[in-house]
Amino acid sequence: MDGQYSEDHIVTTRTYTVAWLALLLLLAATIAVARLDLLARFSVLGSLVIASMKAGLVLAFFMHLKYEGRFLKALLAGTLFALTVLIGLTFVDVWYR
């Protein structure tokens, strides 16, 4: 392992509060984008991008990923990569069948 683990790191209340407020702001943003049809035909993509930003905030701060070592981050990246390949290849199959 790379010895970067910060076992004793306690995330401050302030950091959590900022993350929570940012999540609520992104929620407001995603509703605005969908209801006002701001992105027109890119609305699905826009919604998913905002959802991923929210997921990123939860992962980074609430789930402490920002403070974890590279090993765990790589494992998560590997899992997400596997899922992306699974979805990607299935789409290729469906489209070019």
Binding site: I10, T17, L27, A55, V58, L72, T90
Partner: protein, 201 residues
């Protein structure tokens, strides 16, 4: 558990939880795959299905789950600072929010079922193929997510009792921390379900 030297392998305990969460990602991932394939095939039907969702209730539920992630995260910080009472209260608040989420979900399902929109219902079977798929996926995905919320509430209730008797304390908090990780994961699943079922119309 601690070894003779009193060392606690916090990293190992967390890693075990993360491995479980990876399997959960692929579990829900399969359903998201189904959703996206059928959505691309039956865009119009999915569009019509999602338009019938109650955006207000969905949004309230999103606020509830995001806030409950905040409170469970704060409860872990609190116990690590030795604030037992504060941590217990935050865990209790998290459970209440989880139950509130499920109650709202109950009313949403109830309203749909009252309209005759439930799997295999005569009204649903008369609709298009895509709409049958949309509502099928709606019930399976929000249902399995709801089960995860329920399981989370039960586990947090156990953690609350451990905190109160003191077996979870400022030195030994791995179980509470891992419960928090699970709860945040369930929150993330909802973060994706919300736009897919309520917003993208």
């Amino acid at each position: 558990m601690s070894t003779e030297t009193g060392h606690i392998d916090r990293q190992g305990k967390k890693m075990g939880m993360w491995f479980f969460l990876f399997t959960e990602i692929l579990f829900f991932g399969g359903m998201f795959l189904l959703y996206s394939i059928f959505r691309s095939k039956y865009a119009q039907d999915f569009h019509r299905g999602a338009a019938g969702e109650n955006l207000l209730l969905g949004t309230i539920n999103t606020v509830i789950l995001l806030t409950s992630s905040y409170t469970i995260a704060l409860s872990v910080s609190a116990i690590r600072k030795g604030k037992k009472l504060l941590s217990s209260r935050l865990q209790a608040v998290t459970i209440v929010m989880g139950l509130a989420f499920l109650t709202i979900k109950y009313f949403e399902w109830d309203a749909k079922i009252a309209l005759g929109l439930y799997p295999d219902s005569p009204i649903l079977l008369k609709l298009g193929k895509g709409e049958i798929l949309f509502f099928g996926l709606y019930y399976v995905m929000t249902g399995l997510h709801g089960l995860h919320v329920l399981a989370g509430c039960v586990v947090i209730a156990f953690m609350l009792s451990f905190t109160l008797v003191g077996t979870i304390n400022r030195e030994k908090y791995a179980r509470l921390e891992n419960t928090g990780l699970y709860w945040h994961f369930v929150d993330i699943v909802w973060i994706y379900l919300y736009p897919l079922f309520y917003l993208v119309t």
